[in-house]
Structure formats: C-alpha cells, structure tokens
Symmetry: C3
Subunit: 266 residues, 3 copies
C-alpha cells in the first residue's frame, strides 16, 4: 500500500460513483450526504422497514450510524445489516456514543453479530465496543487516544472479521494482519459535528467499489484527513472548515494528496 | 410570460412572506428552511398526525417531500394532502427516489390521487411516476435528460391536473397548454444535496401567493437556477456553492435576474 | 452583573466543556450541535425512550426543543423533563411555534409543569405560553416585539419558577427580581433558520455549569448576539452569516465582546 494506490482508489470513486445506502443520524444527514456527493458517490438515505431490503439490494454498500437511534431505527439497522449480510454486500457500522447507554450497547452488540465489513469509531467507542473500556465514555467525544484502542480493535477484528478504524489525532486502520497509521487531519475538525460520521459514510463509498477493504478504508480516511487538513488552513473556525472541507473533498488533486499524505504501515 | 412577470413574482414573495408548511425529509430540512427564509417566505416544518390538519389550515401552501419517508411519515403526507385538498389550498409533491422501491411508488400513487397542484422531480422520477420509466432509477439522481420526460410529465398533468416541473440541465415546466424551458443553473449544483428539494420548497412559497401556477413554478425555478448560476461562479466547490446560493436567494437583484435569465415558452 | 462577569462565564464553558443532552428538532440538529461545539460544549442528541433516563443522568443539562415534535418525541420530552427534574439537573425548554396548534400547546403545558430552569422563545411564543397572546402566532416567527411579552414572561416565572428569555431585536432575560436587556444582534439573523434554537442550546451549556441562572442565560444570549452581530458584518446574506457565526462563537475574544456588548439591568 503506497500513496499512489490510495490516490487511485480516490479517483475510482469519482469515476464509478457508487450508490451508497445510509441509515444516518439526524444530526449529520445533510453533511454526510454532501460529503458523499463531494467525494463522487451517490448517496441515498432510507430507513423505512417497508423499503430497506429493496434499498440495500439496489445499492452497492450500506452505512449504519447509530447516532440518534430509537426503537424503530434500531430495527431498521438490523434489517439493513441482515440484508447486506445475506447478499454479501459490504456495510460499515459507526458506533456513535458506544458505552453511553445500555440501549446503544445492546444495539451494537447485535449489529456486530452481522459481521460488519468495517467498524469506525473513536478510541472510546472502539474500547466500549470491545468491552475493554476503562475510561468512562463522555458522550460522543473520545476521552482516549487512538493508540490506546488498538488492542480493542484487534479483538473486534478477531471476533467479527471487521476491518476496524480508530479515528483520532492519528487514524489507525487495522485488520488481523496489518495496521495503517494516518497522521493527517487538524484539531479544529473535532469542533465540527459529524466529521467522524462523514468519514464513515465515505468509507461506505470506498468499500462499495474496492475489494481490498483495508486499502479501501485507508484511502477513505486519508482523503478525509488530507482534505480536512487543507480545509483547516483556510478556515477561521468550524463554520468555514465545514464549507472548505466539502469543497476540498470535491477538488482535491493528486499533487495536494501526495505532497501532504503522512502514513505508515506495520 | 416574460422576464418582468417572473421577477415581479419573486418580489411578491419577499413582500408577502407566505407561511409554508413542509413535510420535508431529514437530509434537507435545514437547507430547505433556509432557502425559504432567504427567498422571503416563512417556513414551518411539521409532521405530527396530531397537528397536521391545523398546520395545513394556518399555512398558505404545503410541501410534501418523500425523501426519507417511513410508515408514520407516509400517513403524515396523506393527512396533509387530504387536508390541503379539502381546503382548496395549493400543495407540491417532490417524488424523491420514485421508482427505487415499491414503498415509494405506492406512496406516490396515493399522493397523486389527491391531485397535487405541482409535482417537481428529475427526469427519472417523473418517468417513474408516469410508469413510463424505461431507464432504471439510480437512487435519487437522474439518469435521464429532462426532455426525455416530457411525455411522462404531460400524462401526469392530464391524469391529475398538476403542473409538472422536470428539473435537469434544462428545467421544464408544463401544464396541458404550455411548456416553459429554463436554461440557467450550473452543473456543480448536482453535487450539493437537496437543491432539488430546495426548489420544491420554494415552489411551495410561490404557489402560496401566485394564482397562475405555471407562472408561479416558472418563477420559483428561474430564481433557483439564476441564483445557483451566480453562486457557482463564486464557488470553489459544493460547500461554498450552498453558502453562496442562500446568500444569493436573499440578495438577487432585478438587474442580475434579467441579464442572466434564459428561457423560452412553447 | 457586568461585562466581565458575562465574559468569564463564556470562558468557563470553553474550559469546562459541559456535556449537554439535546432533544432538538430535525431542522436544527446540525447547526445547534455545531453551535454547542463552537461554544466549547460537548453536545449529545438522543431521543429514544430506551435511553433518555441514562442520557439525562450522564449529562449536565438537557435542552428540549419542540420544533418538529410528534407523539413519540413528545413522550421523549416528558421523560427527559421528568428525569432532569427528579435529579435536580437544569433543563431549558424552547417552545417553538407555541400557539400554532393545540398539540404544541398541550405539550408545552405539560412541560411547564416540570418547572424548566429556563424557557426561551420569541415574544409571540412567550405570550402564547402565558395564554396572554393577543396577536395570532404566525408559524415560528414572532409578530410581536420582545417588550410586549414582559408581562407574559413574568407570569411564567411566577407560576413555574423559570428564568424566561424573550428573544427579539432586544433580548430580555428575566426572573422575579431582575430584567436584563441585551441590545446586540443583527436583523439578518432572522433570515437564518434555527438561530433561536441555537441560542437555546447554548443556554443549555451555560446553565450546566453556572449556578446563577439569570447570569447564565444572559451570558449565553450575549455571546450569541455579539457573535451574530460580528458575523453579520462579514456576511453577504444568510448563508455566509451562518458560517461566520459558527466561526465567531469559536474565536470571539474578550476585546471584541467587551467593546460591542450593549446591555442594561433593571
């Protein structure tokens, strides 16, 4: 895996424009849909029990985000995971607020049993998922560094086969064999709501068309982090960062990407 | 219908500030509310079965958008359409993702029976609505050009009496007698989520106060397209386009409008 | 209460980063979450009956906004108010569209019985709440000036003990003993959806950590109004105002605040 491989994956999304089904949360539906469009994918949001199997079927990947779940949406998520699983379609789970309430944990526990292609969360969430969480979860923000969650990520990979992405100052993407460390991004990104959710949605686009899932997730996360880093340079605060990020996801060039990308593989 | 007529309609929204009821989808609630405010209208979003009849009654028009429908919201839409219909109040339907699932098609089929004042969709959606769709729907984006859907639009008009707006590179507005072709806009607008939904919401504001519905829809669509074209000129990507569009809906001048507007009537 | 006191409260949010639970409406979830983050707080949105008691328990304050309520969300709001009340945790109610429908009024009537720490609305809403509304409510926008609602605000304070904030051209914050008049802000702010809701969310952050609730609400409202005034100076319209506002909530300085703040206490 090198910079050119990752960039080629980014270009493939722009060319193939995969149709990505999202069960997103209410907070981020607009900016995740915009992130997918800016990346070159085609988003569709749908949660009705009456149409989820059909939606999963016509889409190339599904994104499940539990950010504002309730009992109805929980069932929507199970329906989507079940259908994706039975069709062999890739899907990614975003465990927003894992560990905050027992309802979230029960939901996530059942979702993991469908063996998600990818799980992406912050360190607190990944540790909560793996039941290794020693620091209390503080809402939806992480109180731990991403490298503290590597063991948790590995245990999730071992149990459910998922590629695990631990986002943070350094983003870590791992499967049972490799760990990818991505060191781009900017601290101001934590002051914009739902950029983690946008990353998860973008992962959905990449796993829709790229067979090597570790590469797919690494490409998605590196796009998000490099675009975010460039956006932050031109931002006066979180409002303008969100705007510049959508612009940059759309117009990022190979030169910008290769000159900024900082990553290593172990 | 000439440019001055259309501009006068745009000014009448700013002066009369109609109250517009919206059953919008979760993705676009924020930017459609902002689009209505920027245009000069006063939006209210409400979907509770317990209050829809009262809401429709106090508002001057209703907007029904099926983008993220479920079983509860489907009933909300039927309640709103029924009430608007029985009160003789105008309402517009946005058939997001028509043809994608049978649930959407069943919902739309019933909504059409309430004889919407206006239906606005892209070419794929309008063709799906008219059961003339020969190209498969790809999610919520159109795979067809707007002029391919004219026959479909005419059949909807004939069956349900609705003014039909087929949005695309050229926006087409038609009733049984005339066809209006609007040639403004910009390709980058397709990379911002929900601008079609914003157009539908703005149509809601125009049909609330303008008696000639073909003119009302044409004025709404020309406002959206000219403002979008100007916004795109100053945009670096889809993020800044959305921002500039809201600014421009608010501050567009008669001079900008008349110098840019490209339309014809057949 | 002087300018320095208010600024110190603003800084305390940045330092303490309170966790704020929100039952927000669909229109504003994104920008209220962003407003809380920009202010320095940590937002969490949750409405599931299955998790509300736990969420209220781990958060330091709750925000209840009825903007897009339905029967399920109404119960969510009652659960949150009940739990906050029984734990002695502060919560603020935003009576969006009070007076528009009987469903909203019934919901608000029951919410008031939980004795909210704060109620924030525009003049029409506050008057509707106090059953003193003589001008008909027009959707979610106010048709009255804030000073017309002082009597209504006082009656709510007397009946339920709440600090009442009447927002408008002049924002008025009152309890049974004092009235604070804040004269910042900009007219263009009324053309951006949900800035009142953002103010309410920010109030949630301030009552989470500041004991003197009149000061807490005054500090929150002065932050919002001063930041909005500065944002409007750089805005071309409502789109750029929203963006600049989030930037300014994040980077407002003591100097900017003290040089612009206009307020009086009676």
């Amino acid at each position: 895996m090198d910079s050119t491989t990752l960039w080629n994956h980014i270009e493939s999304i722009r060319e193939k424009s995969p149709l990505v089904h999202n069960i997103a949360n209410f907070v981020v539906m607009n900016n995740t849909a915009n992130a997918l469009l800016a990346t070159g994918a085609s988003p569709i949001m749908a949660h009705a029990h009456s149409e989820i199997p059909e939606m999963v079927n016509i889409c190339q990947a599904s994104v499940i985000n539990i950010g504002t779940l309730d009992e109805y949406w929980q069932q929507s998520m199970f329906l989507a995971a079940d259908k994706a699983s039975s069709l062999g379609k890739p899907f990614v789970v975003d465990p927003v607020g894992a560990g905050a309430t027992s309802f979230r944990d029960q939901t996530l526990s059942e979702l993991l049993n469908y063996r998600p292609t990818v799980v992406r969360g912050n360190a607190s969430e990944i540790m909560a998922l793996a039941k290794l969480n020693t620091t209390p979860t503080k809402g939806v923000d992480s109180t731990a560094e991403s490298n503290e969650a590597i063991e948790a990520g590995l245990s999730i990979n071992e149990a459910f086969g998922s590629v695990v992405c631990i986002s943070g100052k350094t983003d870590i993407v791992l499967d049972g064999k490799k760990k990818v460390f991505l060191k781009n991004g900017h601290e101001l990104m934590t002051k914009v709501t739902g950029l983690g959710c946008s990353a998860t949605a973008i992962i959905g686009a990449f796993i829709a068309v790229i067979d090597n899932k570790l590469e797919a997730v690494s490409a998605a996360m590196s796009l998000m982090a490099v675009a975010g880093e460039l956006a932050a340079k031109n931002a006066d605060g979180p409002g303008s960062l969100q705007m510049h990020l959508l612009d940059k996801l759309h117009n990022l060039t190979a030169e910008e990407f290769s000159s900024l990308l900082k990553f290593s593989v172990e």
